[in-house]
Symmetry: C2
DNA sequence: TTTAAATCTGGATTCATTCCAAATTTCATG
DNA sequence: CATGAAATTTGGAATGAATCCAGATTTAAA
């Protein structure tokens, strides 16, 4: 549930890499439950991360945090809805969650399944046709698929 | 298995939209089994199509062709390996197979799951960073995600 | 505190896709 | 045209990511 105080904040989480997990949740209007705080600490450690639910669940287990896989899925989706994460689909049957919510694109290394960020300003897409009537552009994803072997 | 005669052909299937299903298979070095010919007829009807395995299986059933779902999957993958199709991933948990194997990109309409082609020449991606050492660019996919509501 | 709403959880379930081993079909060869 | 080895097909089982569910627990407004 949203409370009045959620509406008076200006700064975006992405702008402030050093903010604490609890603050981040508060700003996003999410209750700071034990599980969410724990997962936020793992996710927002300063690096840009691209993780699957299973990977994050594994990392939490390793760190002796008790969180069910169902909650990891719930949390990742909640964080995504709140704009704290972005979902990236590059392979059928697997979703990555990206802690970098700024405008950017990706290298995808086919064999390893690794995602690498390409800053949005580095890459330019020109000649975009108009969106079909009755639709609007929600997002432009550029995925550069890489194979091993230079 | 490939035979000697597979190697002496020049023209690419994509260049000749009117060729028969059996010819297409022969040129790709695939045996013209009843199932493959039937599916090729459905797929390469002149239009550019983006179908899932389930959709194609449904269409085959409707047309009173008896083909198992396992064979549809096998065939789609074989056609893709042979360069007759291209696999497109835009949503987790679902693969589309594209009869347009020329260089192009896609609009993806979020709600309906529809894919629309954007000719490759219409769109230009500039400022591509160099591929990381030990890798080469296999493909560049641009996906423009559309939401309903102009 | 009290208590309703929100959240968490293990287990069942869904669903696309893959796997499997037996049955059938294709086709090079004689 | 017949033979046989290799390729292909197939129904059903298995997989694995993701979702669903309903009961137990936690959060936070009042
Ligand atoms: Mn996963
Ligand atoms: Mn499908
Ligand atoms: Zn990223
Ligand atoms: Zn296409």
């Amino acid at each position: 549930m949203q409370t009045m105080t959620d509406l008076i904040h200006a700064p975006t989480p992405a702008e402030d890499p050093g903010i604490q997990a609890t603050d981040r949740l508060a700003r996003a209007g999410l209750r700071p439950t034990r599980q969410r705080v724990a997962l936020a600490k793992l996710l927002f450690d300063g690096r840009d991360r691209h993780v699957t639910a299973e990977q994050l669940h594994g990392q939490a287990s390793t760190a002796d945090m008790r969180v069910s896989l169902a909650t990891v899925y719930n949390t990742l989706h909640q964080f995504t809805e709140a704009g704290l994460l972005r979902e990236v689909v590059v392979e059928a049957g697997r979703s990555y969650f990206d802690t970098n919510v700024s405008d950017h694109h990706h290298f995808f290394v086919e064999g390893s399944g690794h995602l690498l960020d390409i800053p949005g300003h580095a890459l330019e897409v020109s000649g975009l046709p108009e969106a079909p009537a009755g639709t609007r552009v929600a997002r432009v994803d550029v995925i550069i698929r890489l194979s091993a072997g230079g």
